[in-house]
Symmetry: D2
Subunit: 99 residues, 4 copies
């Protein structure tokens, strides 16, 4: 089962800047061979369900290991069985309507 997710990890107890934790997650996701796109309020990832969620778990483990004692994460996750759809397809589908 393929999934597209939007991942937004928020470490608590480590001050105001979260970018180094987001960057660490980005590296985990790339190392897992998953497609991802960074945006201003999260990271979109697509791939096989188990691989995507294994990467999300690794992100939590890594952020804790980097010193954050608490993490709250928001995930949107989309699956569909009617047809295949990539992240690029989703954006293009909206852009066509805007054109």
């Amino acid at each position: 089962m393929n999934v597209i997710i939007d991942l937004c990890v928020v470490p608590l107890g480590v001050g105001l800047s979260v970018s180094k934790y987001v960057a660490a997650c980005h590296e985990i996701i790339k190392a897992a061979g998953l497609s991802c796109e960074l945006h201003a309020y999260g990271t979109n990832i697509e791939g096989e369900w188990d691989e995507v969620f294994a990467a999300v778990k690794q992100c939590h483990e890594r952020i804790h290991a980097m010193g954050a004692p608490r993490i709250t994460t928001t995930i949107k996750a989309g699956t569909r069985t009617d047809r295949e759809q990539t992240m690029a397809d989703k954006v293009n589908s909206v852009k066509e309507k805007l054109a």
Copy 2:
């Protein structure tokens, strides 16, 4: 790694009522032996990370099998390494401040 999540599954393409899909998820979560609490905009679940997310995946599989060709889900997921905290602890902690 223990996790508390808030799960909100939204099946698309099956009309306006989503309660039977939410009920199906509830049964999956209970069958997995996980603690859960239903609320007006989702279901809170606590347990070991792998067990909780295995249940989330099962929810997607079940809802697709029930006929929904598309699902969009929102998950909040919290982990902490400083101390153990249950769902009840979280609610009680706020209620003490309100008392």
Copy 3:
């Protein structure tokens, strides 16, 4: 337009405990005369759109005034035009399917 929301405010830069900020929000919502229900990963609120979102804005203002320099909030917001539905209706609708 009536709305039911799930509100989860996360103050950054104030340590690990967020319960006093959640309690402050709860008081704002009650003072605004809105129905709300606390759960383990947020607070559900129902009411007229403008009143609900005015309360959400007040929560951000109050939490900043309490000393948090950064806040990240997750909101789920549901509206429907086919029929009226309260938070209790939503929960009951699932519970009937479970019974």
Copy 4:
């Protein structure tokens, strides 16, 4: 008070394709003079709190007017008082760490 949000509107009862509703929201946001960036799982918007949330309300009104009897929306909303930060700043801050 400035805010950056991530907006993801999901109309129910109108089938599987949501792109035309997302496009309609995009036009509302642009017409309101707000900066926005489309991504694969939502739209990021930045601006003054009241203007941003007025646009979100307009999106719900428009989508209902387009025929969707039910909408469930997920919003992430970030405010900070320590310094100004744009959507581009947030992305650049992560990219610098990745470089």
